[in-house]
């Protein structure tokens, strides 16, 4: 058994890399996969907060790389899930504490014991990004339906290809169907026209995502949440299942519409 190492990256900051990593980690763990999430954003760690594991950090990624602890000691188990672990980033160091070859060694050490290794990349295209994709088998690029985010995603997709980690797959995050219908937001097709890579998921803008991140309870844990369903669908696609995309574009509010939406879920 050998894990698939997936890096979640974006170029632009604030598009939802960390939230996506946490939710995919949870969603994959719910499918009884053995998952470890690694926060590579050294100096600006966040994944521990979003996953609600901040107060259990003793050792971090840099301790592992520098040999100050064993790998297992830095892995924090999320007790709410069957097999979900976090390796947190160091907060008091900077990106130069880790090198791309360190990351390759680390991911290779994790491969035999897991089904998925998820790597949360920092924003930017410098050292931190190169660390994050060094060990990757697959790269997911997160973007928002806005011009600047798409521009940065395009740059990142090019860099991923240059590092021979392509083709990347796309997660379109913070979609607001009502705005798309009014013509005020880039549609899925607009984004795909520019980026020309495979789409693996669309996540709607949803307040519950923010609430979940603030409380350390990723929304994918909430069975009833539509946004959570979007993440669970991406997780299922990552395991090789062919899941149709949720149709957010025509919100139906009538009684019949609600029933239709129930059948559309999944």
């Amino acid at each position: 058994m050998s894990a698939t190492v997936i890096t979640i990256t974006s170029g632009k900051g604030g598009v939802g890399k960390t939230t996506t990593t946490a939710n995919l980690g949870v969603a994959l763990a719910q499918l009884n996969k053995r998952v470890v999430c690694i926060d590579v954003d050294i100096g600006l760690r966040n994944l521990d907060v979003v996953m609600g594991l901040e107060n259990r950090i003793v050792y971090d990624l840099v301790h592992v790389i520098e040999g100050q602890c064993r790998l297992r000691q830095a892995m924090i188990k999320d007790k709410r899930m069957p097999e979900l672990y976090l390796i947190p980033a160091a907060q008091t160091r900077d990106k130069s504490a880790v090198s791309p070859s360190d990351m390759v060694r680390l991911t290779d050490e994790l491969r035999p014991d897991f089904d998925f290794v998820l790597i949360d990349s920092p924003a930017g295209i410098e050292r931190g990004f190169r660390n994050a994709i060094a060990g990757a088998d697959k790269v997911l690029v997160v973007t928002n339906p806005e011009v600047s985010a798409v521009r940065d995603a395009d740059r990142i997709i090019g860099l991923v290809e240059a590092e021979r980690k392509g083709p990347a797959q796309l997660i379109l995050n913070r979609m607001r169907p009502a705005m798309v219908d009014r013509g005020d937001m880039l549609s899925t097709d607009d984004v795909l026209d520019v980026l020309a890579i495979d789409l693996i998921g669309i996540v709607p803008e949803d307040e519950s995502i923010l609430v979940g991140s603030n409380r350390g309870n990723p929304v994918a844990m909430d069975e009833k949440s539509l946004a959570g369903q979007a993440y669970r669908n991406i997780a299922m696609r990552l395991t090789g299942k062919d899941i149709p995309f949720i149709d957010f574009s025509k919100p139906r509010n009538g009684f019949l519409g609600k029933i239709a939406n129930i059948f559309k879920r999944g």
Binding site: E54, N55, V58, T92, D94
Partner: protein, 244 residues
């Protein structure tokens, strides 16, 4: 001619001594040149810088730290004969001592003696990513935000909100204390025990955390001459799998 910059290995760190009787600009440049011409020798090194008597402001020290960082060198702490420079270093959360023998905070030690009963006093807010480490006691007049770390071999007193990680008695002193006006750290460590803050509904009050028996407890501060009444203490939840 002898090299103006002296370099000595101390444990896993390098002790680098600045030349004497130069202007600071010259000394600074000599250091940078030395590192540039030394190839990979300095890459990834933790450096303790002997600054002798140079009087430096935080800005100058900060600039030097950034220059070093760009060259792949981490300025860990400084040694200085000049009190102004030492204060400037503390404001940047740099150490002002030789590092204790082990750089890992979780060391088990049976001989407990503080290298010095000295204390450092910081009048600033410690933000995320800041670490203050000292062999003696640490007193902070300000808040310690989540993501910041305070590590002392002695006691820690925070006149403010303590929300980050705090480790008192870091070399194994189980009698170490942590006091704060609002004691709500992400994680509280005394010697080799680790606890997380219990969920509390009441508004924060000044408290002191200490080891009592097998537990870490936090006691509310009350005036010493107040009528005797039982001290209210909250029991803190250990992270059992981490305690050795």
């Amino acid at each position: 001619m002898t090299d103006p910059i002296e370099i000595k290995g101390i444990g896993t760190d390098l002790l680098v001594s600045m030349p004497e009787n130069e202007t600071w600009e010259t000394a600074n440049q000599l250091l940078i040149d030395k590192i540039r011409t030394s190839g990979a020798f300095f890459k990834g090194a933790n450096v303790v810088l002997q600054l002798r008597a140079y009087p430096l402001q935080s800005a100058e020290l900060g600039k030097l730290r950034d220059q070093l960082s760009e060259l792949g060198v981490r300025l860990k702490s400084i040694l200085s004969d000049n009190p102004q420079t030492r204060t400037a270093a503390q404001a940047l959360a740099l150490g002002i001592d030789l590092p204790s023998r082990s750089s890992t905070p979780l060391v088990e030690s049976f001989d407990i003696n503080l290298q010095s009963e000295s204390a450092i006093f910081l009048r600033q807010t410690l933000r995320s990513g800041h670490t203050v480490q000292h062999d003696g006691h640490i007193i902070i007049f300000g808040d310690v935000n989540p993501g910041a770390e305070v590590i002392a071999n002695g006691n820690v007193i925070v006149w403010g909100r303590l929300l980050g990680m705090v480790h008192a008695g870091a070399n194994g002193d189980v009698s170490a204390l942590v006091s704060a006006l609002d004691l709500s750290p992400t994680q509280l460590r005394i010697a080799d025990r680790i606890a997380t803050t219990p969920h509390r509904t009441l508004s924060p009050e000044p408290e002191t955390a200490l080891i009592k028996g097998a537990e870490i407890v936090a006691e509310r501060w009350h005036p010493a001459n107040a009528p005797a009444k039982p001290v209210k203490s909250s029991k803190w939840k250990f992270l059992p799998f981490l305690n050795r």
